[in-house]
């Protein structure tokens, strides 16, 4: 299974885009069935087991180019002042050594015990069968309780739809056998995506072969986004000097700062 852009580009010479479903080893399902949570909406492998999507981010390969940030915005029509994913960049000075630049891609962790789900008063946010945490925008009342409950600041109120918004692991793409946009566009192959239930998948192999960690382990949310090479000092609220935050001059809700 090819789980990053490099692998995908290698495979594209052998199969067509339309047959990408077979690359990921999954069968297609109707996206419209997701709201009902019906069994048909779950992606299954040819051997019949239900796929459980996860991501492994190899921080050694991330160069902080923000291509994933831009790809996500373009793919998902994310409003100008918001992010479903972005790459935090830190300058770390350790033991009087030269400063090191550390990149940290952030996105929804699609937790197995998501704190955002039980607080939703109308069950608009839910855990899909393949592990994605999704929002039914047609039901969301925009109370923002889930935004408060998320320990990763991965949710926001979309001020064009006036509903809660977040990363979906590019649900519409994975249903068609494609990789999430951020994974497909990742220049360094840092983002790897695949089936955690498949012991032979690349992501499962990476989890076996590397020491991995998750963000905010103390929250016990069982995230499905893993990091290779994550410094403990960065896995929670980063105690350091903040980036320049432009003063709020309008009704904006997310602002990139440099």
């Amino acid at each position: 299974m090819d789980t990053n852009r490099r692998g995908f580009l290698g495979a594209i010479g052998r199969v067509t885009i339309g047959a990408a479903a077979s690359i990921a080893g999954v069968t297609e399902a109707s996206a419209s069935e997701i709201a009902t949570g019906g069994p048909e909406s779950a992606v299954k492998t040819k051997d019949g087991h239900t796929v459980h999507w996860g991501m492994v981010v190899d921080l050694r390969k991330c160069i902080g180019c923000q291509a994933c940030t831009v790809a996500c915005i373009m793919e998902n029509d994310v409003p100008e002042d918001s992010f479903r994913t972005h790459v935090s960049v830190y300058e770390v000075l350790k033991d009087r050594q030269d400063p090191a630049m550390v990149m940290l891609p952030r996105l929804c962790n699609h937790c197995d015990d998501p704190p955002c789900v039980p607080v939703c008063p109308v069950e608009a946010t839910f855990k899909a069968e393949n592990g994605e945490v999704l929002v039914d925008a047609s039901r969301c009342v925009g109370c923002a309780y889930c935004v408060q409950a998320c320990p990763y600041d991965a949710r926001f109120i979309n001020h064009e739809t006036q509903t809660a918004d977040k990363c979906t692991f590019c649900y519409h793409r994975t249903q068609e056998g494609l990789l999430p946009a951020c994974v497909e566009t990742c220049v360094g192959g840092a983002r790897n995506f695949g089936d955690l239930n498949d012991p032979d998948s690349e992501v499962s192999r990476m989890l076996r072969d590397n020491e991995v960690s998750v963000l905010r382990p103390e929250m016990h949310t069982n995230p499905n986004v893993y990091y290779i090479g994550l410094d403990e000092a960065l896995d929670g609220r980063v105690a350091g000097e903040a980036a320049y935050h432009p003063p709020l001059t309008s009704n904006t809700h997310h602002e990139e700062s440099l």
Binding site: E91, K94, V119, P121, V122, P151, R237, E241, A242, E255
Partner: protein, 369 residues
């Protein structure tokens, strides 16, 4: 290790000033109602002047609060979904059921108490008598005040519980995730309610006895708030409660939070000392500071809490989100409350609200303040 964040995303507050207004007004309404209820249920005639003021506060803030809450929904016309798709694991979903019971109850309770006076005004020969006959619904009995009051009282306790728990269970925000928070919301609610009653007493009543009594009760309420604050700080500093320690750690070291702590301490200490030493002729001052203390506590918890990044560094600029629009929202909510207060004192015979009749017999005489 030294860390400098070079690129990060700013997350603006998702609960806006209208949410603060809701939590502020509903706490004042429920605590005021709980202060009014014993007088009417137990038939304590001496307590009527105070209970009338408390009921006035409960009704006017109780109607304003849910309007502020709707304004904070980003999809206010989908409010019906709270009832169509109730998610029982969410405190907010329970709140959606408790709020209308309480608001309906407090309005019905006030109406029932005023029914004999409304009926009497409808029997007089004057231009708008028909309006009051209609308001009295053609009768004057109000034996149902007590069961209605007990149901509404239970709903008021339900609101104090759900509003506290709804915020307290959010583990992602350390400043909210402290077991003392529901008690602090309730205690500051009593402070705000007594502050409003003191101000209304100065405007509508001018009774020195009542002013002194309200100031004495304010002293007690402020002492409880101060005591809870001291326990909170002790638990945080000693490490006896990891939740409180984490809450303190999340804001410690920031100059703005040091200023807020001093400001909050003064907002409790100053009216406490004034009301204790000079309970007469200080109602305006202690009342205003008490209202400010209750409001400021919520503003700090909600807006200040959302200014603390969950993963990023430093603080977000969330203490005054949405700029002038947010400020206008706050002012607008107070404007609506003021309108309701004027309407209540103009059209309701509020000085006639007496003890309910126990049976269908002759009404007990009402005494106006």
């Amino acid at each position: 290790m030294e860390i400098h964040e070079l690129v990060g995303a700013v997350h603006d507050a998702a609960w806006l000033p209208w949410a603060v207004q809701y939590f502020f007004l509903i706490a004042i309404s429920t605590t005021a109602f709980l202060m009014a209820l014993p007088t009417f249920v137990l038939g304590n005639e001496d307590g009527l002047p105070r209970a009338r003021l408390a009921l006035m506060v409960a009704v006017t803030t109780g109607i304003t609060a849910p309007i502020a809450l709707l304004a904070d929904l980003h999809q206010p016309f989908r409010f019906w979904e709270f009832y169509a798709y109730t998610h029982t694991t969410s405190w907010m979903a329970w709140g959606a059921w408790i709020v209308p019971v309480y608001v309906g109850g407090v309005i019905a309770f006030a109406w029932a108490l005023h029914r004999p006076a409304l009926h009497a005004m409808g029997q007089e020969n004057w231009r708008f008598a028909w309006v009051f006959r209609w308001l009295a619904l053609g009768g004057e009995t109000n034996w149902f005040v007590i069961p209605l009051g007990l149901i509404t009282g239970a709903a008021a306790l339900g609101i104090l519980t759900y509003t506290g728990m709804e915020v307290m269970i959010v583990r992602a925000r350390p400043l909210w995730n402290t077991p003392l928070l529901p008690l602090q919301f309730a205690a500051t609610g009593f402070v705000g309610a007594l502050g409003m009653m003191l101000m209304l007493e100065r405007v509508l009543d001018h009774s020195k006895t009542l002013e002194v009594r309200l100031n004495r009760q304010l002293v007690f309420a402020l002492a409880v708030v101060g005591g809870l604050g001291a326990i909170w700080f002790t638990l945080a500093r000693s490490g006896l409660s990891s939740a409180h320690t984490e809450a303190l750690t999340s804001v410690a070291g920031f100059t703005v939070w040091r200023m807020i702590a001093i400001w909050g301490g003064l907002a409790i200490a100053v009216p406490f000392v004034i009301a204790l030493i000079q309970p007469a002729h200080t109602g305006w001052l202690t009342g205003l500071i008490a209202i400010h203390a209750a409001w400021m506590f919520r503003w700090t918890v909600f807006m200040g809490g959302q200014a603390v990044p969950k993963v990023g560094s430093g603080l977000y600029d969330a203490l005054m989100p949405t700029g002038v629009a947010g400020l206008l929202g706050v002012i607008g909510t107070f404007g609506l409350w003021l309108f309701l207060l004027i309407a209540y004192t103009t059209f309701m015979p509020w000085t006639e609200a007496g003890l309910p009749r126990r049976s269908a017999g002759a009404p007990r005489p009402a005494r106006s303040i």
